[in-house]
């Protein structure tokens, strides 16, 4: 800090910022971690590695990864259409992308549960074709895919519109087909954006609760996601068990945040994302 501050007020404003961040973010998260003080390693392992907890983690991570991957493909496709073509109704399609982001979790939850339920418009039809969505792991995937979709589109859209045409034109002039150009030129150029989008989608879906619990069925070891298991442990007054699972999820969120920040160093985050 050799350069003198040119704008007065740094001690007061930096102090206020630090105090507020400490009060709102640091103290509660520290309280969560330190609540495990006095909990033996065996008890912690028992809470986190019990078959029911392991099943919940496997389901949470698996469903989040599956949903984020589906969104990566579907989101890239929709972003490509929105960037590449000008057509009537384009603005409406673009606006629709933000709907899952705008809908409150509880609204998303009950709506998807009804729609994909046995008596719902989609659920009834799918059921007749042998596909059970509501109260299955597939239902959890559907809810997570819905929730994370805007994050992928918005993260990919901006870099996609900045891609210079020269690269694709060069590929085309060398005889590459449109598909080859996409796979060998466009996709590699988009890799950082796609990686950021995947991480954002994962970060968002891993902790999701409200939009999932209504459609999930919540059967222990089968359709019970990790955040729901935390709530269940709390209802049993098993605070240590709840905190142990929560600390694992917190660690994963923290890693996700560091990864996102790393990926974004060169890529300005589309401001709508998150």
């Amino acid at each position: 800090m050799s350069a003198r501050e040119t704008i007065p007020g740094r001690p007061l404003l930096l102090g206020t910022t630090l105090a507020l961040v400490t009060a709102v973010v640091v103290i509660p998260l520290a309280a969560l971690v330190f609540s495990l003080h006095g909990v033996s390693a065996a008890a912690f392992a028992n809470a986190v590695l019990a078959p029911r907890a392991l099943a919940a983690f496997r389901l949470t991570f698996g469903a989040a990864l599956a949903a984020s991957s589906v969104d990566l493909v579907a989101g890239l496709f929709v972003a490509w259409i929105l960037v590449r073509y000008r057509f009537p109704g384009r603005a409406a399609l673009d606006a629709l992308v933000d709907i899952p982001f705008a809908l409150p979790p509880s609204v998303t939850g009950i709506t998807l549960a009804m729609l994909y339920g046995v008596h719902g418009a989609f659920g009834g039809w799918l059921e007749a074709h042998g596909l059970h969505v509501a109260y299955t792991q597939l239902g959890i995937g559907v809810a997570l895919t819905f929730v994370a979709f805007p994050f992928v589109v918005r993260t990919v859209q901006e870099p996609l519109s900045q891609l210079p045409a020269a690269y694709t034109e060069a590929a085309a002039s060398l005889g590459a087909s449109e598909w080859t150009t996409f796979l060998r030129v466009t996709l590699p150029l988009l890799a950082p954006a796609l990686l950021t989008a995947l991480t954002l989608a994962l970060a968002r879906t891993l902790g999701e609760y409200g939009s999932v619990i209504f459609i999930a069925g919540n059967i222990p070891s089968h359709t019970e996601i990790a955040p729901l298991l935390i709530v269940t442990r709390l209802e049993e007054y098993d605070y240590a068990g709840a905190a142990a699972i929560a600390v694992v999820l917190l660690g994963v969120s923290f890693a996700m945040l560091l990864a996102i920040n790393g990926f974004q160093r060169r890529m300005t985050l589309a401001r709508t994302a998150l």
Binding site: T17, V25, A246
Partner: protein, 280 residues
């Protein structure tokens, strides 16, 4: 050649192509439209259908319920306090992070962003462990007649945590592009820091500030997981609109659940799109 190299992909389609899209382009656009119709428009339609299927009278009866009225009042009150708190924090944090030099800036920024990636349930549990009667802090507040967990202040605290970064992020994104030369000039001409902020900075960031407040408000009113954990779910007391929607749905009052859900969705979508319209 150089001009062609700089030409962005979006202009790749020539004017003639743009007027008459190829059938393959048309099919691709149609597929995207179908995808969004099934995936996004259908759920919106489902909300309206489930709310309206029994007629307007049944819809309006939703709002005659005492518990629902209490939930609406609590949601609005908690959102107002949380948004005011986070708006003030956002201004202070954005100014600090963009106008001053200090070590550890990236770490501070990461801490501010952390609530975005923390599961709402984990946030709720962390706040319960901080402010519950089992913790010294929570016990102290309860002893002085101001219980936080399983009471209305807990709703406010949870809402503040979950929507903490929104105003700050929106402002930091804009203010980090603007630099500090104008403020430095104002200071060198004798302005105080407050005057530099009020007269020089704020007029430039007013739009971004409002956008942050709109998004923060939309998120605040829809929060579910964190609020569910810390509220104790006392009906008519600590249940917000989101929690009441869940109560009504679990109680098989589908019309009321979807009427309330539709109302909350309309407000949240309205706030989100007001921000969207302002950005374009």
């Amino acid at each position: 050649m150089i001009a062609a190299a700089r030409r962005p992909l979006v202009n790749d389609a020539s004017a003639a192509q743009r007027r008459t899209l190829s059938w393959r382009a048309g099919a691709a656009i149609g597929l995207a439209a179908l995808l969004l119709a099934v995936f996004i428009v259908a759920p919106l339609g489902e909300i309206v259908y489930e709310a309206a299927r029994a007629g307007l009278g049944r819809m309006l009866a939703t709002f005659a319920d005492r518990e629902t009225q209490a939930a609406i009042a609590l949601t609005i009150g908690a959102a107002l306090i949380a948004v005011a708190f986070n708006a003030a924090f956002g201004l202070i944090a954005a100014w600090t992070l963009t106008k001053y030099r200090f070590p550890g800036k990236a770490a501070l920024q990461a801490l501010i962003d952390l609530p975005l990636t923390v599961s709402p349930v984990v946030a709720g549990l962390a706040l319960l462990l901080t402010f519950g009667t089992r913790s010294p802090l929570g016990a102290w507040f309860a002893h002085h007649g101001f219980p936080i967990a399983f009471a209305r202040p807990g709703i406010v605290v949870a809402t503040i945590f979950v929507t903490f970064p929104y105003v700050a992020r929106e402002l930091i994104a804009l203010m980090s592009e603007q630099g500090r030369e104008l403020e430095e000039a104002a200071i060198s001409l004798g302005a105080t820091t407050w005057q530099a902020f009020r007269r020089v900075t704020f007029p430039e960031i007013r739009g971004a500030f409002l956008n942050g407040v709109l998004l923060c408000n939309a998120r605040a009113m829809g929060e579910f997981g964190a609020v569910a954990v810390i509220s104790g779910r006392i009906r008519g007391m600590t249940d917000t609109v989101s929690l009441q929607i869940s109560n009504l749905y679990d109680g098989a009052d589908i019309v009321a659940a979807f009427t309330l859900a539709g109302t909350l969705a309309a407000v949240a979508i309205g706030l989100t799109f007001a921000r969207r319209a302002r950005r374009h």
